[in-house]
């Protein structure tokens, strides 16, 4: 059996009086697409804050490749809940931000990013400012900024939450295709049950705050999932059972 790439073991965290995470235990395998699904305000984004160093746990342990994660170690590329594109940077310079922080010379950073614009549906917009982009394009630019950092794990915090239903669907289909091609290790935060089922290998279900992992669901459906009607029907059944679980009285408290 392989060692999980990342595991949280009994992690707790509080902001002053508020308990946000209580005994969160979950793991992520190399190359796996994992979702964290939970109600709003549960503490999903807080898990990412913990991993990126913006918040510190008061108990439990985070392990990376089997070893405790050192505080200066940064194996994560993070995409925040809102796209956080900088309005003063052109799209090209927004996408190279992570490389620039790492100290990669600007010219080389650009050379690394430019070939990816086509794949991310952004070609022709390299020199535009973010305000000229549609919502979906902004999200793809933010995702491009995330993946070029070339970190072992991608942390995506509700990447499509702010999009209209149609664009969100297109983005999900596109992300699945991209993942099938590149096989990144992804942790996706979402409160969209359907999105979690269609995209994930496994789903960790969180309780309302203080969050803990109530259940972990494996989604055994073949890929690609969106293009196959039979798969979509099966997905709908899993979706219903998850909703039933999340809405059941013992979870609601």
């Amino acid at each position: 059996m392989t060692v999980p790439l990342l595991s949280l073991d009994g992690v707790s965290l509080n902001f002053g009086e508020i308990d946000v995470l209580r005994d969160v235990t979950l793991d992520v395998m190399p190359g796996e697409f994992v979702s964290i699904l939970g109600p709003s305000g549960a503490g999903k984004s807080t898990i990412f804050k913990l991993l990126t160093g913006a918040a510190t746990a008061c108990g439990g342990e985070v392990r990376f490749s089997g070893r405790p994660l050192a505080s200066n170690e940064r194996p994560f590329a993070f995409m925040p809940q809102r796209d956080a594109l900088m309005p003063w940077r052109r799209i090209l310079d927004n996408t190279t931000l992570g490389l620039e922080v790492q100290g990669v010379p600007r010219k080389e950073a650009r050379k690394r990013v430019e070939p990816l614009f086509e794949e991310f549906g952004l070609s022709g917009f390299e020199r535009h400012y973010p305000r000229a982009l549609s919502g979906g394009m902004r999200q793809r630019a933010a995702l491009l900024r995330t993946i070029v950092q070339d970190r072992p794990v991608l942390l995506l915090d509700e990447p499509f939450g702010a999009l209209d239903a149609l664009t969100r669907n297109q983005m999900q289909i596109w992300l699945e295709a991209m993942w099938l091609k590149h096989r990144w290790t992804i942790i996706l935060i979402t409160h969209d049950v359907r999105e979690a089922v269609m995209l994930s290998d496994r789903i960790h279900l969180l309780s309302p705050r203080p969050a803990s992992v109530e259940q972990t669901i494996t989604v055994p459906l073949p890929r690609p999932r969106f293009s196959n009607p039979a798969t979509r029907a099966e997905a709908a059944a899993i979706e219903t059972s998850i909703l039933d679980f999340l809405l059941s009285p013992q979870i609601q408290k």
Binding site: R74, F78, M86, P87, P130, R131
Partner: protein, 268 residues
């Protein structure tokens, strides 16, 4: 391509003129009313000169006016530059150190409570009739608005952007340079526009308190010689100067931060 750009330009120009039209009409009506009043009431020219009279005298004395405009402009620009440098350096200091913020901010605020009427003659008394006291007074008046604009601008940085940079391993200085400083630019330019209008007034005030040349001393002399028309001619010049500097801030903003959406006054 170039002809379409040209067409766009000319459309923009027309739009601008169209938007300025109400202001122009209002201003001309006022001047017109003033002119009519002067001609029909028989009020003496040494009390209230008509606008036409002011314009005519301004033209006659254009050389003297220009000679006195140059020192005012120089004092304004030098004082304002000094204030910008100071505000920028100190804004960074208080952004990085909460202690320095607590120590310095009350002093900055106190500097704003000094009445210019009382302080200008003193500064002239201490530093003489030369350029220096004018520079200092302009800086004193414009420093605080610039500092506040910068400090508020830094504080306006989106939390998410800073978290993102932190997740990338950016140091505090890098976070400042890559996120806080650019976030402050729209505030900086708003502050610039406010304080540039104070700057000209402050320079004139300083000259009023004592100078060899300058619009301020020109106004004082004209008043003492019972020439309100020349006082108003100098006022006209100083207003034009302020308007010119004000428009220059827009031009600089266009060049330095083209991403700022000026219709909303903010980025994004």
């Amino acid at each position: 391509m170039s002809s379409s750009v040209f067409r766009m330009r000319s459309r923009m120009l027309r739009d601008h003129l169209f938007r300025a039209l109400p202001a122009l009409i209002a201003a001309f009506s006022l001047l017109f009313a003033w002119e009519i009043y002067c001609r029909s009431s028989g009020i003496s020219e040494t009390t209230l000169p008509a606008p036409s009279q002011v314009l005519f005298q301004a033209w006659l004395h254009r050389e003297a006016l220009w000679l006195n405009t140059v020192p005012t402009l120089r004092a304004t620009l030098l004082g304002f530059s000094l204030s910008l440098v100071l505000a920028f350096v100190l804004s960074i200091v208080i952004d990085f150190s909460a202690l320095m913020r607590q120590a310095l901010f009350p002093i900055f605020i106190a500097s704003q409570t000094l009445p210019l009427v009382a302080i200008a003659p003193l500064v002239v008394l201490w530093f003489g009739f030369g350029l220096l006291p004018k520079i200092l007074l302009v800086a004193l008046v414009t420093f605080f608005p610039m500092l506040v604009a910068l400090a508020e601008g830094y504080a306006s940085t989106e939390r998410e952007v800073e978290d993102l940079l932190a997740s990338m391993g950016a140091s505090r200085w890098k976070r400042f340079r890559l996120a806080r400083l650019p976030s402050a630019l729209p505030y900086f330019f708003a502050g610039l526009r406010i304080s540039i209008t104070y700057a000209v007034v402050a320079a004139i005030f300083a000259e009023y308190a004592g100078a060899a040349r300058g619009l301020g001393i020109y106004m004082l002399n004209a008043k003492n010689n019972f020439r309100p028309d020349l006082v108003l001619a100098a006022v006209l010049v100083s207003s034009l100067l302020t308007l010119l500097l004000f428009s220059a801030t827009w031009a600089v903003q266009r060049l330095a931060a083209p991403w700022i959406d000026s219709s909303s006054g903010r980025g994004r």
